[in-house]
């Protein structure tokens, strides 16, 4: 406990950012809100809310189309956000930053535009057992469409990908490896840099599902050397309905468009259509302009705090959470990987996760309960679901103490 006390006294400067998030300053069910569901959707800072409101109030028009002033402003705001996102992930060029509606659309784009034309019967797409449904179902669909086969690399009891088995599955028939940076259900941080190098040594391109990566650690797509990196705005303190697909320019360039419509063309006639250059080829129709403006503001906000600072603060918090949860009797932690982010799934005695979720909510503590869109993970552990507490940079030690106190109340009710 002494160690815990010392830690609490040293609350990081990062946690002070909590004051920037208006939604966190409220009472829920008579208690000050403790938000531990950021892996499902993170709250937004005023900087993001204000940037969107400013855009909507002053600059809104359609992008890439008009000669008038507002259209220029809207285009500048939208393309400015693209350059911010490029810098945020250290992509070489804005041509490699495609705006999408989120991770799910980014992955579907790669499945349909990159994989589908290249898959023949007998070819394989490789995933792992810890993937979110968004990194499973698009591959199942494209395998059904092409006669290819989906291979699944196993995990172990700690929730880590079995690397030897993963590498053993990398045959010359594998056309793509799709793997999470961080598991949303288990918190496991996959050693993707090493995995990408192993895949590339076998000429296998790699898509990284980075939905749970970008909000919590610095991501450098050139250092990782990933071929595609997909992520969502609303998990990195931006708005819902926004996301990014990063792709290496040479790969994106060779891919056919995913959707047809306005803005993705150079010239249309009934004898044929010429597609626009990157990244517009993949952005058919009027995009979510204010959402992208908000996403750009979110990336800038994270840059101002510094991803290294976010990472070290969350690592400290995560250790504290694991320690406190482990000290509760009848606690079963699900996901105990050696290298882990601030996501902890758990079961408490014989209390069903949904009952835990309701009792905690009554104490003002918001957690996620259920299968977390990762049913194969639940199946592996032989459980219908878990309770999951997930951290973000605005959480602090008090939040974790409140979680533990609320769990003690749940135990008492079910005693």
């Amino acid at each position: 406990m002494k160690q815990a006390q010392q830690r609490k006294e040293g609350q990081s400067a990062v946690a002070a950012c909590r004051a920037d998030f208006p939604a966190l300053d409220q009472d829920v069910n008579g208690h000050h809100l403790v938000y531990l569901d950021s892996a499902a959707s993170a709250q937004q800072p005023s900087a993001v809310i204000d940037a969107m409101a400013h855009y909507e109030s002053h600059d809104h028009a359609n992008v890439h189309r008009g000669v008038h002033t507002l259209s220029h402003r809207a285009t500048d705001a939208y393309e400015g956000a693209r350059d911010t996102l490029r810098r945020f992930i250290n992509a070489a060029s804005t041509s490699e930053v495609v705006f999408t509606s989120g991770t799910t659309e980014s992955i579907n784009l790669v499945a349909q535009s990159f994989c589908r034309p290249n898959l023949d019967p007998g070819d394989k797409v490789l995933v792992t057992h810890l993937e979110h449904h968004a990194n499973i179902v698009p591959w199942q669909l494209v395998c059904e469409q092409t006669g290819a086969e989906l291979l699944v690399a196993p995990i172990n009891d700690k929730g880590e990908v079995e690397l030897d088995a993963l590498y053993a599955l990398m045959s010359d028939k594998v056309r793509l490896l799709a793997i999470a940076h961080v598991s949303n259900a288990l918190g496991t941080i996959n050693p993707i840099r090493e995995i990408i190098a192993e895949a590339h040594a076998r000429d296998i391109p790699v898509l990284v599902d980075g939905a749970q990566g970008v909000p919590h650690m610095s991501v450098d797509v050139r250092d990782l050397d990933c071929d595609f990196y997909a992520f969502s705005g609303h998990k990195m303190f931006g708005p819902t309905g926004t996301g990014v697909l990063y792709g290496k320019e040479a790969l994106l360039d060779a891919m056919p468009p995913y959707k047809g419509g306005g803005d993705m063309i150079l010239e249309v006639s009934f004898s044929g259509t010429t597609f626009n250059e990157l990244p517009y080829k993949f952005e058919a129709g009027t995009p979510n302009i204010s959402g992208v403006v908000g996403l750009g503001a979110a990336a800038q906000y994270l840059e101002s705090i510094g991803m290294q600072n976010v990472e070290s603060w969350e690592s400290e918090l995560s250790d504290y959470m694991t320690g406190r949860l482990s000290s509760i009797g009848d606690m079963r932690l699900i996901g105990t990987a050696a290298h882990k982010a601030g996501v902890q799934s758990f079961l408490l005695g014989d209390i069903h996760p949904h009952d835990l979720g309701t009792i905690l909510d009554h104490q003002g503590v918001a957690i996620r309960t259920g299968h977390h869109c990762a049913m194969p993970v639940m199946e592996y552990f032989g459980i219908p679901g878990t309770a999951r507490a997930s951290l973000a940079m605005y959480n602090n030690f008090d939040d974790i103490d409140r979680l533990v106190a609320a769990l003690e109340i749940a135990k008492e009710i079910f005693a």
Binding site: Q26, D27, G30, H354, T358, I359, P384, I413
Partner: protein, 158 residues
């Protein structure tokens, strides 16, 4: 600061002793020797899943009832209370109970339904204050209606 949400009701009212007792020791848990009607209930949001078995006489009396499956305390307790309630009832009286229970959970005053005495099913009334959990409580009852109607598709709370 924004203030909001429920403040007065007590989560202990939701998890009262009768509910916890039925959740921990569900009555009529398992299969029946003889089943004439059965239906599955699925709550896709929660993953709660149960199967209800009925043995209905030719004269439409429910001779026996049982259920199996997994779910939260509310869904298991509700299924357990259901089986306790419907054994010995006619099919049409069981449907009247379905209507009274779902009305009670939708927030209507249970006293309004003069056709039935809900008795210990009133213990489910605490769920009314927890809108996200109402579907847990109604799951078994939707399965009851599906079984009696002999619906082909599983009953879903969605």
């Amino acid at each position: 600061m924004i203030a909001g949400g429920l403040q007065t009701d007590d989560v202990r009212d939701l998890y009262r002793d009768l509910i916890l007792d039925h959740a921990r020791n569900p009555r009529h848990f398992g299969k029946l020797d003889h089943t004439t009607h059965s239906a599955e209930g699925i709550n896709p949001l929660c993953g709660d899943k149960l199967r209800l078995y009925l043995d209905v006489d030719p004269d439409e009396t429910i001779r026996s009832a049982a259920f199996e499956g997994s779910g939260c305390a509310i869904s298991v307790a509700s299924a357990s209370l259901l089986t306790d309630t419907v054994i010995g009832l006619s099919s049409s009286d069981a449907i009247t109970f379905f209507e009274a229970v779902t009305a009670q959970l939708a927030g209507d005053d249970p006293q309004d339904d003069a056709r039935v005495d809900l008795g210990k099913l009133r213990a489910l009334a605490g769920v009314r204050d927890f809108p996200s959990r109402v579907k847990c409580a109604t799951l078994a009852w939707h399965a009851l209606r599906s079984a009696l109607r002999q619906d082909k598709a599983p009953a879903s709370t969605e």
